[in-house]
């Protein structure tokens, strides 16, 4: 455990006695706090980083005799800056959730029945290793796929690679950032990173497309956003829903869903037409301006008004507001970008707009990552798989994180080759990927489904073997390297010992490797040893890192374009590609074009979804500290339309989608804050796992209603806002 930073108050009472660990570990928090106040117990602060979402904020965990009493932000960490979001503050709720997975479990009934018997680690690991080996012998190693998200990836991806399979799928690509990253890469040669390198603090105008900051609670980004609000930046918020961000906006554009590209093209057209673009910037750095200008000529504000239902005058006004303040204009490219299946092109529009306004690499726009980096560590190379990866799904621009649903499809139809084993770590596939039926169908085809999880969520409860990982507060994980304006490295280390029989991911991976004859890929005894070696290689003092949590490497950052630091665009042409030859070669529009999408029929609503500030997808829904703030989701319905339908605020209704799928009863929120044609809900609710005492059946599951999805042909992203629902009154509710 880490060396503790003694609290100031204890300097005064240096002679204070420390009560034995064993006794106090079982004492209630109240007493511990009192005893601490009396100087009987010592509070220590142990740095680590958060895993309640993927922002990886630096945490200072306050521990009193083996019990985590509070989590605070690490001031050294750039993502936290001494603060945690509501979810991060509630992280100990996961640690002490009584419903946690406590021991390995082996299915004792049919798959999905939810019947398990407790097993020892040996039993469970042997079983998994044995079945994996059998699949390997029968179908080849590629027949095992890994679905993973978050830090477990750092342990199980090497295991998969060592095993010989290239087939990994992370929902962070095809269900999240994929189209955005591809769209930006095609235009600028690189994406925007995570944390996104947005220079909002210096912006005069910020444009948000859906990005519902404040509800989307990525810590430092929201801090920047609040800073921008505080400094008086003008916000243009495009969202069919009056989000928290819209509430702060100078202009809220309640766009008709699925018409975003029309608005963007109109803006691009106005800016070109009226000569408002940054001529110098475009001249120096961009390719294909002529073709772009030609292609968008007809995208007038009047045309866009018809599509978007945003008045032409407002479109003009907002365009000139941007132009007037360029380049200090931050156009957020979004994060969860998989909306309508033309999402790469939507991002391309945003990228083109950024280029025209000259905001990429400019103060108030976006900034460049530091070029500093850590030297690579030599390690044993993984075996070359003998078959082509199938996780690209044939999409020309699929990324390295894989296309989750492509693996699913191959699992169902056995093409191009069969997939017989799924290894799932840190993702709740049932909630993450659209069309639950398909997922279940694929799972039926498997010889083995293993889940490494901390909680018995939906997907884990379908597994043949469940391996209980300890929470992020109880383990070492890979060092987190941050590349923002400067280079940082942060440590995840155990704050307390693992509870029950749970084990760290690295241990599980290593033990499996041992049983699979792959130990040479895990040539260290403990993860601490591995990290230590890495630190030594990187020239970082491990002991110092343990105390500080995050170390920032002083370097020569060049965040903005200047005469001395000209930009490098890693595109084919070395320039910003307003017109994309790459796309053209693959048969896609080189300049984005608008196509109409189906709109809801009368009596229907388009189902849209988003975040709640105190929840992360499904994973926090059972966290006692967060559950109490938002125990179940609600469906937002436009107030006048609700009145017409006779819906009463706070009563339960049932949603029925175009394919006849019915939701759980869900409370209706009758509100002026949404367009008439949309029904909105927070994603992640209504787990089917009865082991989750708080979250079971609470609210409705958006994913259950998302039976249709529109795949982006460029990268494989699954557009998920293409489902329509009807609302039935008087849902039975227990």
């Amino acid at each position: 455990m880490a060396t503790s930073i003694t609290r100031r108050s204890f300097l005064k009472i240096s002679g204070a006695t420390t009560v034995g660990l064993s006794v106090a570990a079982t004492l209630p928090d109240k007493f511990l706090l009192w005893a601490e106040e009396q100087g009987m117990l010592k509070a220590t602060y142990v740095p680590t980083f958060c895993e309640i979402c993927f922002w990886k904020c630096g945490v200072m965990a306050k521990v009193i005799n083996g019990r985590v009493v509070k989590l605070e932000g690490n001031p050294n960490h750039p993502g936290a800056r001494g603060k945690l979001c509501g979810r991060g503050n509630g992280g100990a709720g996961l640690l002490y959730d009584p419903d946690r997975l406590k021991t390995p479990l082996i299915s004792s009934g049919a798959r999905g029945e939810g019947k398990y018997k407790k097993a020892s680690w040996d039993e469970a690991l042997n079983l998994v290793a044995e079945k994996l080996t059998r699949i390997k012998q029968q179908y080849g190693p590629e027949a095992v796929a890994l679905f993973t998200h978050g830090t477990p990836t750092d342990h199980f991806l090497p295991l998969l690679s060592a095993f010989g399979s290239p087939n990994v799928g992370m929902p962070s690509f095809a269900q999240c950032r994929g189209p955005r990253d591809v769209g930006l890469e095609l235009t600028f040669g690189e994406s925007i990173g995570s944390p996104e390198r947005l220079d909002m603090v210096n912006s005069k105008v910020v444009v948000l497309f859906g990005s519902h900051l404040g509800e989307n609670m990525h810590n430092s980004q929201v801090q920047d956003y609040a800073e921008a609000v505080g400094k008086g930046a003008k916000f243009i918020v495009v969202d069919p829903r009056f989000s928290i961000a819209a509430g702060k906006a100078h202009t809220w554009l309640p766009i008709r869903p699925a018409t975003n590209i029309a608005l963007l093209l109109a803006w691009i057209n106005i800016i070109i037409r009226d000569g408002l673009y940054d001529k110098e910037y475009i001249g120096a750095y961009a390719n294909g301006f002529g073709e772009l200008a030609e292609a968008v000529r007809d995208c007038t504000p009047e045309w866009a008004e018809k599509e978007t239902e945003i008045p032409a005058a407002t479109i003009l006004e907002t365009a000139s507001l941007m132009a007037k303040n360029a380049p200090a204009v931050c156009i957020h490219p979004g994060r969860h970008a998989t909306w309508y299946g033309d999402d790469v092109q939507r991002t391309r529009c945003i990228a083109i707009l950024m280029a025209l306004l000259g905001t990429w690499g400019r103060p108030g726009g976006t900034f460049f990552a530091t070029t500093a980096s850590f030297p690579k560590m030599e390690s044993k190379p993984f075996p070359e798989p003998s078959r082509e990866p199938l996780n690209g799904g044939g999409y020309p621009f699929a990324g390295g994180e894989g296309v989750t649903q492509a693996i699913r499809t191959s699992t169902i139809n056995g093409k191009p080759y069969p997939i017989k084993g799924w290894f799932v770590s840190g993702t709740n596939l049932m909630k993450a990927i659209p069309n639950e039926k398909e997922t279940l169908e694929a799972i039926k085809k498997l010889d083995l489904l293993v889940a490494v999880d901390v909680m018995p969520f939906d997907t884990a409860m379908l597994a043949d073997v469940i391996l209980p990982e300890c929470t992020y507060l109880e383990r070492y994980d890979a060092l987190a390297v941050g590349k923002g304006k400067s280079l940082t490295v942060s440590l995840r280390q155990p704050v307390v010992e693992p509870m029950y029989e749970s084990k760290p991911g690295w241990w599980i991976a290593k033990e499996l490797a041992k049983r699979l004859g792959l130990d040479e890929y895990f040539p260290w005894a403990t993860y601490e040893e591995k990290i230590k070696a890495q630190c030594a290689h990187w020239g970082i003092n491990f002991e110092e890192l343990k105390k500080a949590g995050t170390i920032t490497i002083p370097d020569t950052a060049a965040p903005y374009i200047t005469a001395e630091t000209p930009p490098k665009f890693k595109t084919a042409s070395g320039k910003i590609e307003l017109y994309s030859n790459e796309l053209k070669e693959k048969g896609f529009d080189p300049v984005p074009r608008y196509t109409q999408h189906p709109q809801p029929a009368s009596g229907e609503f388009r189902l849209i979804y988003g975040r709640n500030a105190v929840h992360t997808f499904s994973r926090t829904t059972n966290n006692p500290e967060l559950h109490e703030l938002y125990p179940e989701n609600e469906v937002w319905v436009n107030a006048p339309r609700a009145r017409e339908m006779g819906l009463v605020n706070g009563t339960y209704v049932t949603l029925v989608n175009q394919d006849g799928v019915r939701s759980n009863p869900i409370k209706v929120k009758v509100t002026e804050r949404i367009r008439k044609d949309c029904a909105y809900m927070v994603h992640g609710f209504s787990t089917s796992s009865t082991s989750l005492k708080k979250a079971f059946n609470k609210g409705a599951d958006d994913q259950g209603l998302i039976t249709r999805y529109e795949v982006d042909p460029i990268c494989g992203g699954t557009g998920m806002r293409v489902n329509f629902v009807r609302i039935e009154k008087e849902a039975p509710h227990a």
Partner: protein
């Protein structure tokens, strides 16, 4: 307007609900004992003590005072969340807290009412006291009947007012926050005291006397209550809002509307009944029929007092600044 609040305490949202029937009963019984104390003092002083002569209430009424008070105190005790800490009431004086001076006041009221009960105990009944010390005390106290009656009367007024001040001191709850409330509560307390007296008295003269007293008190209540509502209605928006439960006949406010309706019936009917009693020619003894009417009207008055306490305690918590 749409309101969403994250982090609400059930005890204050959607409205305050800290006090229930226990506090209502405390206020009612406290008021009743106060009213009865006032009436017993009057009984013993009236006509130089002649009125009390020969009536069973002469000695029973003063005894009822501390008993009813104790039952009332039991209810407030039941309402305390940390009962073992009650002694703190008496380790401090909080001059701005009605509850503090109420608890001190009760501490004085008790001995005064007990002493008064001892003092008014007729000689013939002193042997019930068993212990010579008490018999002795009773004998000695009986010499100070008059000053004790005065003290008892004063304490009765004090406690009667206090039960109203307790509520009226809360600036945060507009229904309660009215200077008329203590007057209303005192009047209602005295009226209840008189009614109780009518019920426990044996002699016709006593019953009729207190019937007359009660007529005036009911009349007073019938003036004060509308005045109270008038005051609230013409005051700030929050004050005006605060009385709406009584006048809005909706599902949510059903009990308040009903309470109001009952009061509207009880007071006039009781008044008429009493008026008839006084007017009627009675013989030496009251007829069974007349007794029934008398007791009925007295019961109505008591019920009215209870309704006032219950509805005000609850409705006050619905009101908000």
């Amino acid at each position: 307007m749409e309101l969403t609040i994250t982090g609400v305490n059930a005890v204050t949202t959607p409205h305050l609900h800290v006090w229930d029937w226990r506090v209502s009963l405390y206020l009612f019984l406290g008021g009743l004992s106060a009213g009865l104390a006032i009436m017993t003092s009057i009984l013993h002083v009236r006509k130089g003590g002649k009125l009390a002569e020969g009536d069973r209430a002469a000695f029973s009424a003063p005894l009822y005072v501390p008993i009813i008070l104790s039952i009332g105190m039991l209810f407030i005790f039941l309402d305390l969340e940390r009962k073992l800490n009650v002694f703190w009431f008496y380790l401090t004086v909080q001059p701005l807290s009605p509850m503090s001076w109420g608890s001190w006041g009760l501490l004085v009221f008790y001995p005064v009412s007990i002493m008064y009960a001892l003092a008014t105990l007729p000689e013939s009944k002193r042997h019930y006291l068993r212990f010579p010390v008490l018999v002795n005390l009773s004998e000695r106290l009986s010499r100070f009947k008059l000053p004790l009656a005065a003290a008892n009367f004063a304490m009765g007024i004090f406690i009667g007012v206090y039960t109203g001040v307790l509520l009226s001191s809360f600036v945060a709850r507009p229904l309660w926050n009215s200077a008329i409330l203590p007057v209303l509560f005192l009047t209602s307390a005295m009226s209840a005291g008189a009614a109780f007296m009518i019920m426990i008295a044996g002699e016709k003269k006593v019953k009729l006397f207190f019937t007359k007293v009660d007529i005036w008190l009911i009349l007073a209540e019938m003036v004060i209550l509308p005045l109270f509502f008038y005051g609230q209605y013409t005051s700030s928006g929050a004050h005006r809002e605060s009385i709406m439960p009584f006048f809005t006949f909706s599902h949510g406010y059903f009990w308040y509307g009903l309470g109001m309706l009952l009061l509207l019936i009880i007071f006039p009917v009781a008044l008429v009944l009493k008026y008839l009693e006084v007017k009627e020619e009675h013989g030496e003894e009251l007829t069974a029929d007349a007794l029934l009417k008398m007791n009925l009207s007295a019961l109505m008055v008591l019920a009215g007092g209870l309704i006032i306490r219950l509805s005000f305690v609850y409705a006050g918590q619905l009101s908000h600044l």
